[in-house]
Amino acid sequence: MRLCSIVTTPVLLLLPVLAARAQSEIPENIQIGLSTDQVSITSDFSGAELTIFGALDNADPLVARQGRYDVVVVLEGPPRAVTVRKKTRVAGMWINTQSVIFRDVPASYSMALTRAPQDITAPAGYRQLALGAGNLHLQPLDADGDPKTIEEFTRALRERKEAQGLYSTRAGGVRFLSQSLFRASLRLAPNVAVGTHRARAFLFRNGMFLRETSAQLTIRKAGLEQRLYQFAHENSTLYGVFAVLIAIVTGWLGRLIFRKD
């Protein structure tokens, strides 16, 4: 192939033109596939790697060979209302004194990229797509609050989520296996939220955003724990009675097994 291209220089010069024409007819497309649409976590879950495979359709071989396709894959946790509290020192003790409620905060946000974010596209590009934990639109419930406070708490919210490993960015987390096939590895934090997560993949060429695709992933607790979790939330009184019965039986059995009198 290389030999061929050296010999046929004029053809090579023509290629971009041809490719451009081909593109206007059939544009590149991106697809991702999850090996499973459900992940079960156990109580001793200590985090895991999630691998997402994807492919580019109609990739321009030349652009691909020069490594100018970039892919960003994001796994976004279910949105939830979150209260951010701030402690200040009162009479020597650290006490929660201020709080701001945010609505629809993604429980987690892990991003994997083919390269460092600044090497893929300009910050404005990420902002437009609301891509990256820093560009998430975090909205306070009370939008009329002091803008300075809201800014401070928004920053704190991101910072805490990062500290908990829930918001993460991994440059180099997406690798091309061939010209059109790629693999993204994302980190599921030990405290990952149960619920429906959304995986999204963004395709860039020469720093230009082309296309986006998405898939869903349900994260749930494994077997018994899932049933208990559901039970506790759907039939909470009955669950309480059940908890009491277990305690009584355990206490009684303990007495039977160990009794001395």
């Binding site: 109580s43 001793d44 879950f45 200590s46 939830r80 209302a81 979150v82 209260t83 951010v84 509290r85 701030k86 402690k87 200040t88 020597g92 003790m93 650290w94 006490i95 929660n96 709080s99 409620i101 945010f102 609505r103 429980a107 419930l141 708490f153 704190a156 919210l157 910072e159 805490r160 989520k161 500290a163 908990q164 030990p190 405290n191 724990e225 208990l228 506790a232 939330h233 909470s236 009184t237 669950y239 309480g240 009675v241 059940f242 908890a243 009491v244 277990i246 305690a247 009584i248 355990t250 206490g251 009684w252 059995l253 303990g254 007495r255 160990f258 009794r259 001395k260 009198d261």
Partner: protein, 297 residues
């Protein structure tokens, strides 16, 4: 939240060992330990209450067999306890919404453990000194009355050989129930001295009666917490119970070999240590001044 099964079993075992050794429920140790293990205080409290049922039930059975419990007194205490616990659970939910639950739980623990531990330490040190001098100590002086015995609505409790007003009994029950639901304890460490010193209940029925009413108050608290706050974790509680029930048996055996006042001095030191640690956390600068909680009410 991910926790280690063996750590929990060991934790339950250690607390069970101590509770068997000292004859206490151990709820006041379980909840702080869970908090030290980074379990959110709301879950630590409700799960602690659940765990307490198992150890009190096991203990109360033994007393029931020996007839060393006063069912009538226990039932009146329980009536007060249910009222106090219901109130406590609503206060709990309110504090949680305010974001002040962790603070209040810690403060209550520091205050109660500090006072109870301090008093116990003083009392046991005095007892150790006295026993070295060769004197014996009696806790109850029959015939001696205080203001409590002048209140109206008197009731006779045969097993305790008591004739007192129901008002202080109900009030004590309610107070313990309130604390039980907020702190996730059975309340034995307050109930036992209160019955002995305030109501002058004979020592031999005190522990059985206290355990009897704790079972029901803790059961009630568990159900209410589960309904109102969904903060009971059965798996967590079960692991603690298994460790606790097993540990208690060995603790009781060791406890029989130690002398009463030395045992009380040891327990007092332990209680003070837990209070100090919780107090230290209140005053030391947190890792981050910001914290997140899911939900926004």
């Amino acid at each position: 939240m991910s926790v280690n099964v063996f750590v929990l079993l060991a934790m339950g075992g250690a607390v069970g060992f101590l509770s068997g050794m000292f004859g206490v429920g151990g709820g006041f140790l379980i909840t702080p330990l869970l908090i030290f293990y980074n379990i959110p205080p709301a879950i630590a409290v409700a799960t602690g209450a659940n765990q307490v049922i198992a150890s009190s039930f096991s203990g109360a059975l033994a007393h029931f067999k020996r007839k060393s419990l006063d069912l009538k007194l226990g039932t009146v205490l329980l009536a007060g306890g249910i009222v106090g616990a219901s109130l406590g659970v609503s206060v709990f939910a309110y504090l949680r919404r305010l974001g002040q639950l962790d603070l209040i739980v810690s403060l209550l623990y520091v205050a109660f453990l500090g006072v109870v531990g301090g008093l116990m330490l003083m009392e046991s040190v005095r007892a150790i000194r006295r026993s070295q001098g060769g004197q014996t100590v009696t806790l109850r002086k029959p015939g001696q009355h205080n203001w409590i015995h002048r209140l109206p609505l008197k009731m006779r409790f045969r097993a305790s050989k008591l004739f007192v007003s129901v008002i202080p009994v109900l009030a004590l029950g309610a107070f313990i129930g309130f604390l039980a639901s907020i702190m996730g304890v059975g309340g034995g460490f307050i109930m036992v001295p209160a019955l002995i010193y305030l109501l002058k209940v004979p020592t031999n029925v005190v522990i059985g009666t206290s355990l009897f009413q704790i079972i029901f108050v803790a059961a009630f608290t568990t159900i209410i917490h589960s309904t109102a706050n969904q903060t009971v974790d059965v798996v967590l509680a079960f692991l603690l119970m298994v460790g606790g029930v097993a540990g208690a048996q060995y603790g009781a055996r060791v406890g029989q070999r130690l002398r009463g006042e030395q045992l009380r001095a040891l327990l007092a030191l332990l209680v003070l240590a837990v209070a100090l640690r919780l107090g230290f956390d209140l005053f030391s600068r947190p890792e981050s001044v910001y914290s997140l909680s899911v939900g926004g009410v």
